[in-house]
């Protein structure tokens, strides 16, 4: 069939402003039939805003879109889907307590849900190599398999364009290979794919063309295969970045020790921790890799002290048993933590930065005397954090929720690092921050380690872990492997561990 138009989707001069930010500024690009087109840019470059407009979640302030040569202005996602556009979001919208086929039935056009949906799910998923059992509960599936459910749901609607938002961030390297094979097959069949990512090697391996966004503007359109990762990075970031360098390990004595911690999860679909054992030595940075939802949250709860363990000496800090200690007591002893979820866990969006400083820094920084809070002390400290970590905010009296994700992240990391902890645990320490700020945070962590602190980084970003860790462990299904020297590990070996036993087939729940 000869397409009526050379391009499937054309964007011309798309502009979208939010209060205080121009998210997209005069963005134009074209996606051909069967083309795998990358949208490349850092966090905050405007990629998500752009695809939300294509998918009908947002509407552009100005500019026009054409689909098949016809004007295209979807009022809502249902209209976008009716035009043959599907989207797989970074955060899935699935009900854990329902089965795969029930979830798919709920999420698609009622017309399509008629007839034998179950067998069509099996048919489509097998054809594209994304095997799924339609009768399993979502809660029992790994994150990678949940993504398959979302993709199959998309495919059942016979899309002409699929938008994928950072799809590989939840996958093991092996699962990534399977996904890429599927996407290539779709491309050969004439289905176009708009692939959002900031991972350069992936884009070079997969995509036919790339549109690079920086600060809401298109800075280049190129053929990724003809570029190097370095040249793409420079286009994306606009400057040459030098990653934090680790100069040899200088590990000292063991500061933190966790012995055979086994703890059932409190959530119905949570992950139980099984026999987690870990030593951290002063002066070293240890990384924990793993696909999201493999026990990282549960491990963090135990490390913070939100859940205590017995016997108390199952966790030791500088030789002292802290398994039964509360978060405050652990902080006094020198242990600080940054949980992954910023809003409502590491920080309270409705409270000011000053109050958020009181939240976790009050004991080490003595903000409380005789039960009364010294707001001036907390204010000085917050201002210090804002200055040192270059947090962009209208003032420390403004609520944390008014900061952008990356700036709040800088504040939270700064708040913990500037307490000079002896053991620091951070989940996704550079989540959402730009390359320059990420380098600053990495440098601060390296400096902290140089001063003799033990640092544990829990991250899904393998590149980050490989760049700053001395040793790397992998968490899969609530089990933690023994950390290995970073020089000895390869992406493949970590990927295999990340899959654990649940890589292709999940263990029973």
């Amino acid at each position: 069939m000869e397409p009526a138009n050379e391009y499937l989707l054309e964007l011309d001069g798309i502009t979208k402003a939010f209060p205080g930010v121009l998210a997209n500024d005069d963005v134009s690009f074209r996606v051909g039939h069967g083309e795998i087109h990358a949208l490349l840019g850092e966090n905050g470059a405007g990629k998500s805003t752009l695809v939300k407009m294509i998918y009908g979640v947002l509407r552009p302030d100005s500019g026009v879109m054409h689909l098949h040569g016809e004007t295209y202005a979807p009022a809502n996602p249902a209209e976008a889907r009716a035009h043959g556009i599907g989207m797989v979001f970074q955060h899935f919208s699935l009900f854990e307590a329902l089965t795969v086929s029930e979830n798919i039935e709920l999420g698609i056009n009622p017309e399509l849900a008629k007839g034998d949906l179950r067998s069509r799910i099996v048919e489509v998923s097998t054809y594209y190599g994304l095997t799924l059992d339609p009768d399993r509960l979502i809660g029992d599936l790994s994150v990678g398999q949940r993504q398959r459910v979302e993709i199959v749901r998309c495919l059942l609607q016979n899309p002409r364009l699929i938008i994928m938002d950072e799809p590989t961030s939840v996958l093991t390297p092996q699962e990534v290979d399977v996904l890429f094979a599927t996407l290539r097959k779709l491309g050969e069949e004439g289905c176009s794919i708009l692939y959002i990512s900031h991972k350069l090697e992936e884009i070079r391996a997969l995509c036919h063309r790339a549109t690079i966004l920086r600060g809401g503007r298109v800075v280049a359109t190129c053929t990724p295969a003809e570029e190097t990762a370095k040249s793409l990075a420079e286009l994306m970031i606009g400057q040459v970045v030098t990653p934090a360098k680790r100069e040899g390990s200088h590990a000292g004595d063991v500061r933190f020790r966790m012995k055979n911690v086994t703890l059932p999860s409190t959530h119905p679909f949570g992950v139980d921790l099984e026999n987690v054992t870990l030593d951290l030595r002063g002066g070293e940075i240890v990384g924990i890799a793993g696909v999201a939802g493999n026990g990282q949250e549960e491990l963090m709860e135990v490390l913070i002290g939100e859940r205590t363990v017995s016997p108390p000496d199952a966790i030791e800090l500088d030789g002292e048993a802290i398994g039964a200690r509360w978060p405050d007591q652990r902080r006094i002893l020198g242990m600080c933590c940054v949980p992954e979820e910023r809003h409502g866990h590491a920080a309270i969006p409705g409270m000011s930065l000053v109050e958020n400083a009181v939240l976790s820094a009050r004991v080490r920084k003595s903000f409380v005397r005789h039960g009364f809070i010294s707001l001036s002390g907390a204010e000085t400290y917050s201002k210090d954090v804002v200055k040192t970590f270059d947090v962009r905010t209208a003032g420390v009296d403004h609520p944390a929720g008014s900061l952008s994700g990356g700036n709040l992240q800088k504040f939270i990391m700064g708040r913990e690092i500037m307490q000079a902890p002896t053991v620091l645990v951070a989940a996704q320490p550079t989540w959402g921050v730009d390359a320059g700020a990420a380098a600053a945070i990495h440098n601060a962590l390296v400096e902290l380690a140089k001063g003799g602190a033990a640092i544990l980084i829990i991250s899904q970003d393998l590149d980050e872990l490989l760049a700053i860790s001395d040793r790397i462990a992998v968490i899969a299904n609530g089990r933690l492997t023994q950390p290995r020297d970073v020089a000895e590990v390869t992406v493949e070996s970590i990927g295999t561990s990340m899959g654990g036993q649940s890589g292709q087939e999940p263990v029973h729940a």
């Binding site: 011309d12 001069g13 798309i14 502009t15 402003a17 209060p19 121009l22 500024d25 005069d26 134009s28 074209r30 509407r59 552009p60 302030d61 100005s62 500019g63 026009v64 913070i304 002290g305 939100e306 509360w326 978060p327 405050d328 007591q329 902080r331 933590c337 949980p339 979820e341 409502g344 866990h345 590491a346 920080a347 309270i348 969006p349 409705g350 409270m351 109050e355 009181v358 939240l359 976790s360 009050r362 409380v368 039960g371 009364f372 809070i373 707001l375 403004h398 609520p399 929720g401 008014s402």
Partner: protein, 366 residues
């Protein structure tokens, strides 16, 4: 096209303006309601909202009614901020009156400056004990404190009734279901000679000031706010959830019990089955009307007290139904909750076509 969109930060102006807007809407609705009933709406509105402020006597009555409302609402507001929903203040009020009143009867004709403080202490402890039941069940078995505390209200009212019909009945009272009149040493000192206004009002003011101070700069107030806004962040900070549940129930139960014993040893002067008249429930409205802030509660308590007095006046002089007061209180809470959306959201009038605040697109070129 009307569109409701989230504000980047909650509007401070709206935070203070919405109680007034709700009050105006309530008055307008009441106006229409009275007109529909065939009563003179202007006169009814005047009687309910203005008349109570025109004489020393009615002002003193305002203090009498506002005292329990302010005391109870101040305690409840602390809990509501932490997401601890004590709906049973009426029961804690009743039990406080009962334990305090029983103490007064036990010390009948005993003189001494310590008699009244002891009675008040007994009342506060009674309220706390009653509040301990939902607190224990919530922290131990994760039961819903709304249901438990609410149901205990009816238990408390029946308990009071049983005791004044039996154990605490006045031996010289010809079998009327009421206790002896308390002796003078067991009565609240009067604030303004010739009226029923008593020093409990000053205690209520003191409670407001202390609560405001705690919320502003004490670590307990901070814990309450954090637990209410973000329970996970509270655990991260090291605040114990059950600790806060207990503290909130003890404060709100204690203050409700205190309000109960003030009522018994103040304007009533004895234990009667009709002692609980709904202050514990009205205080919930007061707490929200005052934006869960102690100073707001002070104003809200005075306003709601005026609807009690005005409602009674309108009942007598215009033969309006007794439920008039309740209708007004209900309307007020309804409009308050309805206008609350403007604190976090704003309504924007959008032209049919999306506005173009940014430069028009340049011609596309490749």
């Amino acid at each position: 096209m009307l569109r409701i969109e989230a504000r980047k930060e909650p509007s401070v102006v709206m935070l203070y303006a919405t109680p007034s807007i709700a009050l105006v809407l309530t008055i307008i609705s009441g106006f229409l309601l009275f007109a529909a009933l065939g009563k003179d709406p202007a006169k009814a509105t005047y009687l309910i909202f203005v008349d109570p402020l025109t004489s020393v006597y009615s002002l003193s009555e305002l203090m009498v009614k506002a005292t329990p409302l302010i005391l109870i609402a101040t305690g409840l507001a602390l809990g509501f901020r932490a997401g601890v929903w004590n709906i049973g203040a009426e029961g804690q009020f009743t039990v406080g009156a009962l334990t305090g009143g029983a103490t007064a009867l036990a010390l009948y004709q005993v003189e001494g400056f310590w008699v009244l403080p002891l009675i008040c202490l007994a009342g506060a402890l009674g309220g706390m004990a009653w509040a301990a039941i939902p607190a224990f069940l919530r922290t131990r078995f994760n039961t819903n404190e709304i249901l438990v505390s609410l149901m205990l209200v009816y238990v408390a009212i029946l308990l009071l009734s049983v005791l004044v019909h039996g154990l605490l009945r006045d031996p010289d009272g010809q079998n009327f279901p009421e206790s002896r009149l308390f002796h003078d040493a067991a009565l609240m000192p009067i604030l303004i000679e010739g009226t029923r206004a008593h020093i409990g009002f000053l205690v209520a003011i003191a409670a407001v000031i202390i609560a405001a101070l705690v919320l502003r700069s004490h670590i307990l107030g901070f814990q309450i706010k954090v637990v209410g806004l973000a329970p996970r962040a509270a655990r991260y900070a090291g605040f114990s959830d059950s600790h806060i549940v207990w503290i909130c129930f003890m404060i709100s139960g204690g203050l409700a019990g205190l309000a109960g014993v003030f009522e018994a040893t103040g304007p009533v002067g004895q234990l009667v089955p009709a002692l609980p008249v709904g202050y514990g429930f009205t205080a919930i409205i007061v707490a929200f009307l005052g934006r869960l802030h102690p100073f707001g509660i002070l104003l809200g308590g005075l306003l709601l007290a005026s609807t009690y007095i005005g409602g009674e006046a309108a009942q007598i002089s215009m033969s309006l139904p007794a439920s008039t007061t309740r209708v007004f209180q209900g309307l007020l809470l309804f409009f308050l909750l309805a206008t609350d959306i403007f604190v976090g959201y704003r309504i924007r009038w959008l032209a049919p076509k999306a506005s173009t605040a940014v430069p028009a697109p340049k011609p596309a070129g490749e």
